[in-house]
């Protein structure tokens, strides 16, 4: 198996899907000749042509609206947001149109919106946001958020093949920092299934995206220093959640820590905590804990950003508190 960076794995997945299915096309700002702000589509236009790799006008509403319309007409568009933050400008098209069409009309809307998400990159309030929770409240959408190159490739392929609008959150922090083995060929990762990234019997961390890596680091630290064995559950899909994996894991370990890069209040972690309270309350040995960003915009200065976003140290601290309860 070749080792790919996280972003190259996404590119590879899109490339394969475009080769496989002529109805798949890309639309976004600066994605064609320039290859995209993060170069996820470098070389695509040369290979697939400008009709299938469309450099669009600067309008998220037009990009997502056009993708929705094209999907209704039977195409399989992948729309790129230059940054997940800019989804606000296309929010209406996702929430009002794309998410409700199948329910109202019975017409599938097979489209993917790619969202370069999150912080740790000194991007400030408008290039660092985690926006996934807004969409977790919208029935009709699916949300995926891979943490590894292998999952990223498998999930982008599944997202393209899904007959519903899929919000594909990809983490800028992981783009070139994470490299891993990626199976070659037509291997997909199912939407709706989480993955156990580390086994452990003392406590479960439930997390996704960038913070999976901090969680794994923290798990190693408490294993070495405290002899605590942590199970790390990577949700991979945020809508629909893998309820069985969450509940079974917490039942087995009796302790749960929920970690995400997004702000805490109204975050996906709240829904996970509610599921645990509803279905695993009797098995809990300690109250559910959460680690997330401060309830504030993502600040610009490195000192502020570091204080804002969750890190390994905070996760270690929370794990120890949970075990000492």
């Amino acid at each position: 198996m070749p080792a790919l960076t996280y972003i190259d794995a996404i590119s590879r997945g899109m490339w394969e899907e475009m080769e496989r299915d002529p109805s798949v096309f890309l639309i976004g700002e600066d994605i064609g000749a320039y290859g995209g702000a993060f170069k996820a589509t470098k070389g695509f236009q040369e290979h697939f042509g400008p009709e299938r790799v469309i450099d669009s006008v600067l309008s998220e509403a037009a990009i997502i609206g056009a993708a929705t319309g094209a999907a209704v007409a039977g195409m399989r568009p992948i729309a790129e947001m230059q940054f997940a933050d800019f989804i606000t400008c296309g929010f209406n098209q996702i929430v009002t149109n794309a998410s409700k069409i199948y329910y109202r009309w019975g017409i599938p809307v097979p489209m993917v919106v790619r969202l370069p998400s999150g912080g740790y990159i000194h991007g400030g309030p408008y290039h660092s946001a985690s926006t996934e929770a807004w969409f977790a409240h919208v029935p009709g959408l699916k949300i995926v958020a891979p943490s590894t190159p292998s999952d990223a490739k498998g999930l982008i392929k599944s997202a393209v093949r899904d007959n519903n609008p899929v919000m594909f959150f990809e983490f800028k922090y992981l783009y070139r920092r994470v490299k891993g083995e990626v199976p070659e060929g037509d291997i997909t990762v199912p939407i709706g299934k989480g993955d156990v990234k580390r086994e452990g019997g003392d406590v479960t961390i439930i997390t996704y995206g960038s913070t999976v890596h901090f969680a794994l680091e923290a798990a190693e630290m408490v294993s070495k220093e405290d002899g605590i064995e942590t199970k790390v559950v990577d949700l991979r899909t945020l809508l629909p959640l893998d309820r069985d994996l969450i509940i079974d894991s917490v039942r087995a370990t009796g302790r749960a820590l929920i970690v995400h890069e997004d702000t805490l209040t109204g975050g996906v972690g709240g829904e996970v905590a509610a599921l645990i309270a509803e279905h695993a309350f009797q098995d809990l040995d300690a109250p559910v804990k959460r680690v997330g960003a401060l309830d504030a915009p993502v600040p610009f200065a490195p000192t502020l950003e570091a204080a804002h976003l969750p890190d390994t140290e905070r996760i270690v601290h929370a794990l120890r508190e949970l075990l000492q309860y």
Binding site: V57, A62, A67, G69, Q93, Y102, R104, N164
Partner: protein, 334 residues
């Protein structure tokens, strides 16, 4: 169903309206108004679910524009375009099933009024967020162009909806990409209670077209033949691959925004003034003068339409609501 011309007949051959075409236009305008009137009657009887929005005054624009489309063209109408639905092949029965939220309606009661889609007829209804359909309709035009199909997309917006950002975003994309897209602004003087002088400062809404580098025209939206001819040119142009056209069709909303609106904000005399230009009366006079229509044929058409609408109302009224247990089903496509 009574029709004056066979539906298979090619409409407007060579861009010209034949006499059977003109009778068909008349029929559809009358049918649209009869449906609207029946919807209002049902509303007053408390039988309509939700609000009732009529296209009274807009018949020439709705019917004349959609008449310029072929079967394989896409229609993205608005809530005052019942006539366009009918021209595109929708049945009165389906219209009333939607209005009464029945289980056998096109949306199975999940959405109301003209908010349905009927893919075989290539009708894709509006949503309540005005302007939101424009980028989506542009997306269908994009798919059409990518697949090198022969279809065009016709989309409608109101004077109020022209203030929404997606109006600009969608139309600009369509212009830049030279898509087969026609946008009709139905300027009917009011957006709910807001008069056009508080909606836009341009002299004409079609002036905006030059900002997008596309043709724009403002027309009298009460003349069905003028609407048809204007739209036909735009459709032909789009089909030749020459890109979008913006058409401002000037009409009057003869009723309140919805049946619950008494329209007391409309200046005294304005309705009466516009009633002189009633699109159906206008056209009827021409057809009578041209001896296409006689008292007798008019009566026959009238009776046919009444029977058609009565049948639709009865059929819809007798149809059941969808079962409550379906509410959470079908959110995701398999």
């Amino acid at each position: 169903m009574v029709k004056t011309a066979a539906p298979e007949q090619k409409r407007g051959t060579g861009g010209k309206l034949s006499n059977p075409d003109r009778l068909e236009l008349y029929y559809y305008m009358r049918l649209a108004r009869e449906c609207d009137d029946a919807i209002l009657r049902l509303y007053r009887q408390g039988k309509v679910v939700g609000g009732a929005y009529t296209g009274n005054g807009n018949e020439a624009t709705a019917v004349g524009s959609a008449y310029a489309l072929e079967k394989h063209d896409y229609l993205f109408p608005m809530h005052r375009d019942l006539g366009a639905h009918l021209v595109k092949g929708q049945t009165a029965r389906n219209i009333f099933l939607q209005q009464l939220a029945r289980g056998n309606s096109l949306t199975h009661g999940r959405d109301g009024t003209g908010h349905y889609a009927d893919p075989p007829l290539r009708i894709y209804g509006n949503v309540s967020h005005l302007g939101a359909m424009i980028p989506m309709a542009v997306g269908v035009a994009l798919a059409v162009k990518m697949r090198k199909e022969d279809s065009v997309v016709m989309n409608y917006i109101g004077d109020g909806g022209s203030s929404v950002g997606e109006f600009h975003e969608g139309l600009n994309m369509a212009a830049v990409m030279q898509l087969p897209f026609i946008l009709i602004i139905e300027n009917n003087q009011f957006a709910y209670s807001t008069p056009i002088r508080r909606q836009f400062a341009a002299q004409k809404l079609s002036d905006r077209a030059s900002g997008y580098g596309i043709p724009g025209v403002t027309i009298d939206g009460t003349s069905v033949s003028l609407v048809y001819e204007t739209c036909r040119k735009a459709v032909d142009r789009a089909r030749r691959g020459e890109g979008p056209t913006l058409i401002e069709s000037v009409t009057m909303r003869m009723h309140g925004h919805s049946a619950s609106d008494d329209a007391s904000y409309v200046p005294v005399g304005m309705i009466e003034e516009w009633r002189k230009k009633d699109p159906i009366d206008r056209f009827e006079k021409i057809l009578l003068a041209d001896h296409l229509l006689t008292g007798e044929t008019r009566k026959k058409i009238e009776e046919g339409i009444k029977a058609e609408v009565e049948d639709a109302v009865a059929f819809a009224t007798e149809s059941p609501y969808p079962p409550g247990e379906d509410a959470g089903k079908g959110v995701y496509a398999p």
